[in-house]
Subunit: 667 residues, 2 copies
């Protein structure tokens, strides 16, 4: 966002750009419409003093939490006052940039009722939820069970006498643990519990449970709630009240079980409805698509900071007293930074495509077509895993790329990392997800030639016979610029790794045993498959019509950087499967180096295209104007430790040392 600035230390960089930055902004945003909304919402938030966050990393937990409550309420008020649309409101909340109970209320509680509630239940609960007359959270995970949802221990026992369920926490490990918004705010929760009727266990179902009094907010009888304690980092996710919850025989009416896919009758009979359970997959696809989109935002934010600072920072290489070299000119810096820049764009486009996929899946579901669902489910699981892992690592790499100053909270990077990393764990642990992808791949491989055609992102596997044989035709570095060459290499690698795994599994005593023994290899095969998806979607994007001078060309370059840097990183896969030769690997690396030189003059403009405000970035190093040092200096003095020149504790703990009378002082 082109703020009015007095100095612009990056003006020289900006003038070097070889493409139309404004046009790139539209591409990044998705459309002119989306750009306008994002731009307007970002400014609205940035100009509102309530949303300041520069002191967030210094506040102690209670104060921090109170400011979050204030921001959440203020955002709600502004959204109403300004009559923002749903799309605008989402953007507005995004730029407020602070995890809070509202995320779970809107992102999990409401969708759970929408997806799993009957029409009647939706009619009863949703209007209250939409108006926030009730605030809800999503209480699934327990102290003892996260990934294995089927292992949850909380019970919901039907009492036919009173037509009620008795919600109970029979063990310590059955305590609900982690739900966001639960600890201090939520009045209600969708609680997942083991349904028991007439002594029979029917597995996990969801129940709407009121937790707190709507009058004075105190927990209802039989309900124990608290916050589960400080989490990683200053500020960061500590604005969220992830909670613990225990039930002591709490009764709720029968009609508070979410009954879309299964019901309990007045008599206590359990009925599985004819609505297929796969319907629930639709919601997962939706949530994970959001996570992929968030990954591109978080990664681009970190990259924006690191690119700008790398252009400002100079170190070594002064000749004849001239200025030193900008660290962005060092090849090692480029080699770490530019693939992340490319990844940010890659994730942006695959996220866009996932949005389409979700619409597609939804329409098919409405037409009772479940055929693409397993593939879509596996694909989103894999993309969630890959993009969040890369983003988490990428943020930390960006922090290191900023040298010592990246370690200061005023760089914005430590908090970004700390707040981001749980994305690798929630909504499915990334390894557990990759194993699901692998399972799907093995199934797909086993069916090859059976007549059942692989669909969607696995469609390329039809070509398995050719792909197992084909030879990469690269002879000189520039051959690596051809999309067909890149695609073939990624497809060959992916198919061959999957087929290798399948063959090795078939050697085992039984498939389960084989899958288990080879699971580390299977995870690598799943990664290969998912990287192929991202590469192919990036290529597809670049093949579309794209407006603006030089925009398409720049994206083409980044697409190649993305693909070739992956080839370099996973060279062992590509060569050992024979998908490329060592010589071709070296040529890919050579081409990559020359692409870096093409990225270099455009790097700052490429991050300007994200259109992030200084408020959103929250970084002294990533400022739009590049005026880094005065800002770092200014921020330092705000630290509470600088309230006094002589620190608290001097008289008790420093002076006695210096005066050598610590023997008598009571240290």
């Amino acid at each position: 966002m082109a703020e009015a600035v007095a100095v612009d230390h990056l003006a020289g960089e900006r003038s070097k750009a070889q493409f139309d930055v404004d046009a790139m902004k539209i591409v990044w945003a998705g459309s002119k419409h989306a750009f306008d909304i994002a731009d307007r919402m970002a400014r609205l938030v940035a100009s509102d003093p309530v949303f300041r966050k520069d002191n967030r990393t210094m506040l102690e937990r209670k104060e921090l939490f109170k400011t979050t409550l204030r921001k959440a309420a203020h955002a709600w008020k502004r959204i109403s006052q300004l009559h923002l649309t749903e799309e605008e409101a989402m953007m507005f909340r995004f730029f407020v940039d602070e995890p809070a109970y509202v995320d779970l209320h809107w992102g999990m509680f409401v969708p759970a009722i929408r997806g799993q509630g009957t029409e009647e239940q939706q009619k009863k609960w949703l209007p209250m939820a939409y108006k926030m007359q009730i605030i809800g959270c999503y209480a699934q995970t327990e102290l003892g069970h996260g990934s294995n949802v089927q292992g949850l221990e909380t019970t919901a026992t039907f009492d036919p006498k009173s037509d009620e369920f008795i919600i109970h926490s029979p063990t310590l490990t059955s305590s609900k643990w982690w739900p966001g918004g639960l600890g201090k705010v939520s009045t209600h929760a969708v609680v997942y519990a083991r349904l028991i009727t007439d002594g029979q266990d029917h597995g996990i179902n969801g129940f709407i449970v009121q937790l707190r009094s709507l009058d004075d907010h105190s927990p209802l009888p039989g309900v124990t709630i608290g916050d589960i304690g400080t989490k990683f980092g200053n500020g960061a996710y500590n604005t969220m009240d992830n909670g613990v919850l225990r039930f002591d025989h709490v009764r709720i009416p029968r009609n508070q079980m979410l009954m879309r896919v299964s019901q309990v009758t007045r008599e206590g009979k359990f009925i599985q409805s004819d609505v297929p359970r796969q319907l629930l997959y639709g919601t997962m696809v939706f949530v994970r698509q959001t996570i992929v989109s968030d990954a591109s935002k978080a990664l681009s934010r970190a990259v924006c900071i690191a690119v700008r600072y790398s252009a400002v920072r100079r170190q070594f290489g002064s000749q004849d007293g001239g200025p030193e070299t900008q660290v962005i000119d060092y090849k090692t810096q480029q080699d770490r930074l530019f693939p992340l820049l490319a990844s940010a764009y890659a994730f942006r486009f695959v996220g866009e495509w996932l949005k389409w996929l979700y619409t597609d899946v939804t329409q098919r579901l409405q037409a009772n077509d479940f055929s693409t669902l397993p593939e879509a489910h596996a694909c989103t699981a894999g993309l969630k895993s890959l993009t969040t892992s890369t983003t988490a690592d990428g943020i930390e790499e960006c922090r290191k790329l900023c040298g010592g100053h990246g370690y200061l909270c005023s760089s914005g990077l430590p908090e970004l990392f700390a707040v981001y990393v749980p994305a690798c764990t929630y909504e499915g642990d990334n390894i557990v997800l990759l194993l699901q992808v692998a399972r799907f791949l093995m199934k797909t491989v086993s069916r090859l030639g059976s007549g059942k055609q692989p669909v969607g992102t696995t469609a390329y596997m039809v070509k398995a016979p050719e792909l197992m044989q084909c030879k990469c035709e690269v002879q000189e570095a520039k051959d690596w610029l051809k999309p067909t060459v890149i695609l073939q290499a990624f497809e060959a690698r992916s198919v061959r790794m999957a087929v290798n795994c399948a063959q090795n599994i078939s050697k085992a005593q039984n498939p389960e045993e084989g899958f288990y023994e080879l699971s580390a290899d299977l995870v690598e095969a799943a990664v290969a498959h998912c990287q192929l998806i991202i590469v192919s979607k990036f290529i597809e994007k670049v093949e579309q019509e794209i407006h603006g001078h030089g925009v398409k060309e720049m994206l083409q370059i980044l697409c190649n950087v993305y693909a070739l840097s992956l080839i370099h990183k996973h060279l062992g896969d590509f060569i050992s499967t024979g998908s490329i030769t060592p010589k071709q690997g070296a040529l890919a690396n050579e081409q990559l180096r020359s692409l870096y030189s093409q990225v270099r003059p455009n790097a700052v403009a490429m991050v300007d295209a994200f259109n992030y405000t200084d408020h959103y970035l929250g970084s002294a190093l990533g400022r739009y104007d590049g005026n880094v040092y005065p800002k770092l200096y200014e921020e330092a003095w705000k630290d509470p430790l600088n309230d006094s020149v002589v620190p608290d504790g001097y008289h008790e703990y420093i002076k006695p040392l210096l005066k050598q009378n610590f023997g008598v002082a009571r240290l």
Copy 2:
């Protein structure tokens, strides 16, 4: 440490161990003597309530800092009262486990005077420093310059009239920035500044400068000091007062310039003494050896937590209502965890060897033998880089291995990560260091055949002619267990990568240009060389006499895990240099999998061998007794947010929402 425990959820695991844990403890500690001291010091610290740290991540900065001052003073007092030896005192401070100004006082200020001061200067300053009548820090880095020390801007201008230096900060970027202990505590500093006599710039030299009054601790006239603000993470390095410092024409006597290697005479003449500047390398070797040793401690601590928790945590796979699978039994978990366990041991042994190297270097220096110094310097730079990078990433991986619970501060892992990561940046940015190693490697390669024999850790390069040609002889998986086979593969890869780089550089217009263009590849060659060093030192260790039932066998297994996991991770290097074939790569992976099965029953015992107290670990997940869940639950309730059931801010920011009257409330 075998604490007296009521329950031991890990007893079953412990009984499975196939080796003598007590003997392994001695090997880990280095000797019976070292073990006894560590054991005793750890208990002393753990049993002293002043050193509690369970609330550290919840304290706001000022309170946190005050408790650190208290601990530092108390430690000093205890060390004196108990008449601890230097070795004991070091261990004592290590187990206090909290960064503080004392680290810089003992670790940098004192050594700087020892290494760079004349005998006279040492006699004057060291006794005061030893008694802590003065407290010092190491003020080198500035806002504008870290890696490039020669670019520092602070000036020390000799004034012949008064026989003084005038220390001055001419620009904002010349502000000293980062020195630990500077912000709030140090009374003195060794300040690095550009020496100017008679208008001539003589480059960077060190000066002892008093900063604060010894009476009331206020900064002396012309001196501005503050803390540079909050750093990454809760607790963590925020116990340290990294500081900012500006001088406004501050005068110090001429004899406060550290004059061992260069002097300024009364007349203002600059004299380079005949003591070679390389002497200063000796100190670097010492400091970096400490950092490598710390890496093994930090990594082993994270691994200890993750291994124990992975043995306690069960998820999925319950059969017939029996217990679920311990997550440590999943191959993906092993594949992420066991190489880190092996790395912890590998780093421990290479650290031990570095200690020997330092002694060797020191003895040679005393005998005026500088021949091994460049090699020793490059070697320690590379090992510092490699071990700290792996440790930083490894801690975060351990955190992820603990699933959601790893994200809680009570797991101990977030703070460990946050406090550890700057080790990748301070004492030399890891990439800058690897480039130094690469430069040394290129020099070594260029001299091959010139008659000048490569020494020390580069000695294997004499064999370059064979290593460029040799073929790996592995034919079946178990061939990978032979140390000679492993060594040859690592040597071949390393030499070939270095020679490749050298050849590519020689194609460039000039060597500097070539080095710059290829620096990303050079970094990879440097990594390959350093990994070889670690592998070879591990192999050497295992070839020594080692006591205790099964101890040597276990270390042999870990050594192979370390080497083979690196082969798998860097397969592209090994195959593309022709050091091994794809088939041999697959066999290495097969062998690795079967080694994991051998590690599995011994994993818990292998981390018990670190002998860490629960106090030192500071982790609800890593407890010795495995009694994880009650502890997590208990810790949660200590969070300040749980002080009240209804949170601060409810009336202002939650109730108005629920009651739908936020229009009138002043949100």
